[in-house]
Structure formats: structure tokens, C-alpha cells
């Protein structure tokens, strides 16, 4: 089966700062890939390039049959966004809308679902993340963990083929982290293709089919969960030494 995401020799710089320097990796359909690495190693940038939030300078990215290169158009990006969902560290819920309205916004305006259809669907994804009773609450009335689960539900409501997660638990304390990870684990069990940047080594080891260790804008090492117990490079050895 051909991969759902394929990065081929992708480079990206901000001015003179070379953040990605020839990054290549694949994500197989239905698999979970965890990107780990030190802060500043380019993990978020790699993820953001996958759904076009950052334009790449060279190389090629294929995502769900969309081809991204350095001069991708707005229309191509919009088409891509219909297939790819992303969840951010800072939730980015819309503060003026209720939980239900946050979730229904895109299905209503983008997928043109009827109000009742969108409502029913929103209630369903909200149930999936364990927050059925929060439909009419506003984001500010929720804990960080609950807000993050709503953000996941909002993405799910668009029925993406691929979900990206950028350090979605980094702003949360351990208890709230647990409830968000549980939701992600159940998504993985349901067969959702996921790429996640994470600092939760135990989670990466337990859930990911593949782990990509990034260092200085390069894929330094990649492999299965066992890679963390037997690092090949001194950089990864040092990283897991600090992390575990």
C-alpha cells in the first residue's frame, strides 16, 4: 500500500535559519507516527509543512494524493485541508462560540451540512472524546484538557483521512494529559492515521508504529518503539537518557 504521507528531501528555512534540511519519511495509511526530538529541532515545522501552514523551499511532500511544493496555491491548500485535520498545542478554539458551535462551524460552512445533520454529528464526536454534556459550554468554562479534547472533536467532525497533533499535551498537567492521550489512543485503535509531535516517550513507545527522531533539522534516526531502548546514535541516546 502506498503511503498516505510522503516527505521527500524537504528543506525549509526562515531567512538564513535552515530549519529543515532534507527531511524524508513516510506515513503508512492507518499507522501512527511519532516525531520526537529536542526543542528547536524542527518538529513543529515539519508538521506544519505537511498541511501547508509553512511553504517549503525545496523537496516534495505528498499528502493524501495532494502534492505540495514551493509554489502551492490557496485552492490546493484548501483541498488539502479537507483531508487533513490538525490539533495545536494552544487548542485554538474559537472563544466566542460554544463547544457545539466550534465543532459545527466547518461542517456547516465547508461541508454544507444541514443544521440538524451537523448537530447530530457534533454530538457524536463530542461523545467520542467524553464531553457530551459540554455541548453548550463556552471554551473558557472548560479545563485545558477538556478544551484540547474539544479541539480534537472539532477536527474529527470534518472526517479527515489524516490527523496531525503538535505537542497537544505540553500545556497540560499530568492528569489532564492522561485524558487527552486516552482519546488519542482510542483514535489510533479506530485506525486513524496520525502524525504526532510529542514529548510523551511512554505514549510514543506504546502507541506509535514508527518513531522519527529529529535533530538539527534532519531525521536522525527512525524505527519502531524498540529504537528508544537501543538508540543507534549518541544524540538519541542522550535524548532518551534525559527524557525517560
Amino acid at each position: 500500500m502506498s503511503p498516505i504521507v510522503k516527505l521527500n528531501n524537504v528543506s525549509k528555512s526562515f531567512g538564513s535559519l535552515h530549519v529543515l534540511q532534507g527531511v524524508s519519511f513516510d506515513v503508512a495509511a492507518g499507522s501512527v507516527v511519532a516525531i520526537i526530538g529536542r526543542s528547536g529541532s524542527g518538529k513543529s515545522t515539519a508538521l506544519r509543512c505537511i498541511n501547508g501552514l509553512e511553504k517549503i523551499n525545496s523537496g516534495e511532500i505528498t499528502v493524501c494524493n495532494h502534492h505540495l511544493h514551493h509554489d502551492v496555491t490557496r485552492a490546493q491548500l484548501r483541498a488539502l485541508h479537507l483531508d487533513v485535520g490538525i490539533v495545536f498545542q494552544s487548542y485554538n478554539l474559537f472563544p466566542h462560540l460554544t463547544v457545539g458551535q466550534n465543532i459545527m462551524l466547518a461542517p456547516r460552512w465547508v461541508r454544507k451540512q444541514s443544521k440538524s445533520e451537523a448537530h447530530e454529528h457534533a454530538a457524536e464526536v463530542l461523545r467520542k472524546v467524553g464531553l457530551a454534556e459540554k455541548f453548550d459550554a463556552y471554551p473558557e468554562q472548560l479545563s485545558g484538557g477538556q478544551q484540547q479534547r474539544v479541539a480534537i472533536a472539532r477536527s474529527l467532525a470534518m472526517e479527515p483521512k489524516l490527523m496531525l497533533f503538535d505537542e497537544v499535551t505540553s500545556a497540560l498537567d499530568p492528569e489532564l494529559t492522561g485524558e487527552v492521550l486516552k482519546v488519542m489512543e482510542s483514535l489510533a485503535r479506530d485506525g486513524m492515521t496520525m502524525v504526532l509531535v510529542t514529548h510523551e516517550m511512554a505514549f510514543a513507545k506504546g502507541v506509535a508504529d514508527k518513531i522519527v527522531f529529529m535533530h538539527q533539522g534532519r531525521v536522525w534516526e527512525e524505527g519502531g518503539g524498540e529504537m528508544l531502548s537501543a538508540p543507534q546514535t549518541p544524540e538519541l541516546r542522550q535524548f532518551v537518557g534525559n527524557g525517560l
Binding site: I86, F88, N92, L93, F94, P95, H96, A106, V110
Partner: protein, 227 residues
């Protein structure tokens, strides 16, 4: 120094004052509505991607904000007349005030738009919303809610500034007062009454804007907290 107050003119002239009040309210509302719309468009322009568009909007705003409203009004009223457009004083008055208030509204709305974090726009883009949908569904509502108190202050100022249009003989409360004054010579009393009417009108406007905020900002209505 003795001065005997004499408010007896009110018996005869209150219907005219009432008419002036209604005209001032109409003038103000029209100016506020169109000034807000134009100001919001300008704010969108000032925060747009296109550098040229940002420049043009900035020049307009700075030009308007650095000239007196009265001068703008004279330019429009006498200026347009001398190049052959014969427009009513009331129309010119609204036009001048709209142009004036739009520049201030632009700056207020720009602050609101800039208060919406980049991540909000990214999230709506990633959900597949178009640029226009993001603008109207995700950016402008919280932007407006955040700067609403500043907008209301600006709108009340504009309501008071409509008194300037008496200078181009447009019909409203202050020009009505001036006419009554010229017939009765009770200046102090008349302008005292008119000042009280303005206070009353400002109060009604504030009440109206408060009610409007509860209508258009459901989150505010339910939680009462600042966004």
C-alpha cells in the same frame, strides 16, 4: 448681577426642539451605521496581505484623522457645490461625518482584529474555511466584541459632533436651538435645555448600545465576562 431665568419659550417651541432631536438622532444613527461599515472595511484593508492596500488605507485614515471635522464638512458642502454637485446640507453632513468616523472606527477595529491571535486564523484555515468565511465567522466577531466599549465611546462622540452640522445649515437640534435663540433671545435657557436633551440622548444611545451588545454577543449575554 441678577438674571431671571425664563423658560416660557418652551411652551411655544417644544415641537421644534422635538423635531430637532429626532433629526439629530437620525443623523447620528445613519452616520454611525455607515461609519462603522466603512471603518470596518478600512480596518480589513489595513490588516490585509497586500502592502499597497495597507498603504492606501493608512494614508486615508491619517489624512482624515489629522483634519478637523468642520473643515471636512465645509470641503464637502461648499467644495462639491462649487464643482457643480448640488446636494442637500443633510446629505453632505452625513457624508462628512461618515468619512470622519470611519477613520476612527478603522483604528479601533484594527486593534480588535490584531487582538485575534494568529492561531485562530490558522485553525479556521485548517478546517477548510475560505478567507472570507474566516474573516466573518472567526476574526470579526471576537474582534468587535473586544473593542465594543471603545466603539460605543466613539459613537457617542459622533452623536455630539453632529451639532457641528448646524454650521452648514443642516437641520438638527443645535441649528433649531440657534433659530429659536434668534427669535427669543433666551440663549442661556435654550442652550441649557439643549444640553440636557443631548445628555438624555447620549443616555438613550448608551442604553441602546448596551442592549445591542447583549443581542449580537451571545457569549457576553450568557457569561458577562470580557473576551
Amino acid at each position: 448681577m441678577t438674571y431671571t431665568f425664563d423658560f416660557s419659550f418652551l411652551a411655544e417651541y417644544w415641537p421644534q426642539l422635538l423635531k430637532g432631536l429626532v433629526q439629530t438622532a437620525q443623523l447620528s444613527l445613519l452616520s454611525i451605521i455607515f461609519g462603522f461599515l466603512l471603518g470596518t472595511l478600512l480596518a480589513i484593508g489595513r490588516t490585509a496581505q497586500s502592502k499597497l492596500l495597507r498603504r492606501i488605507c493608512a494614508i486615508y485614515v491619517e489624512a482624515i484623522r489629522n483634519t478637523p471635522l468642520l473643515v471636512q464638512m465645509f470641503m464637502i458642502y461648499f467644495g462639491l457645490a462649487s464643482v457643480g454637485f448640488k446636494l442637500s446640507a443633510e446629505f453632505c453632513a452625513v457624508l462628512a461625518i461618515v468619512i470622519n468616523v470611519s477613520s476612527y472606527t478603522c483604528e479601533i477595529m484594527r486593534a480588535g482584529i490584531e487582538s485575534v491571535r494568529k492561531g485562530q486564523r490558522e485553525a479556521s484555515d485548517c478546517l477548510g474555511l475560505t478567507w472570507l468565511q474566516s474573516l466573518f465567522l472567526v476574526v470579526l466577531p471576537p474582534a468587535t466584541e473586544r473593542v465594543y466599549p471603545a466603539l460605543v465611546s466613539q459613537f457617542i462622540l459622533i452623536m455630539l459632533a453632529t451639532s457641528l452640522v448646524s454650521q452648514i445649515s443642516a437641520e438638527e437640534l443645535t441649528s433649531t436651538a440657534a433659530r429659536i435663540d434668534s427669535m427669543t433671545f433666551r440663549s442661556f435657557e435654550i442652550y441649557t435645555v439643549v444640553a440636557l436633551i443631548y445628555i438624555g440622548l447620549a443616555f438613550v444611545f448608551r442604553l441602546g448600545f448596551w442592549a445591542l451588545s447583549r443581542l449580537v454577543f451571545p457569549r457576553l449575554r450568557r457569561l458577562g465576562t470580557p473576551l
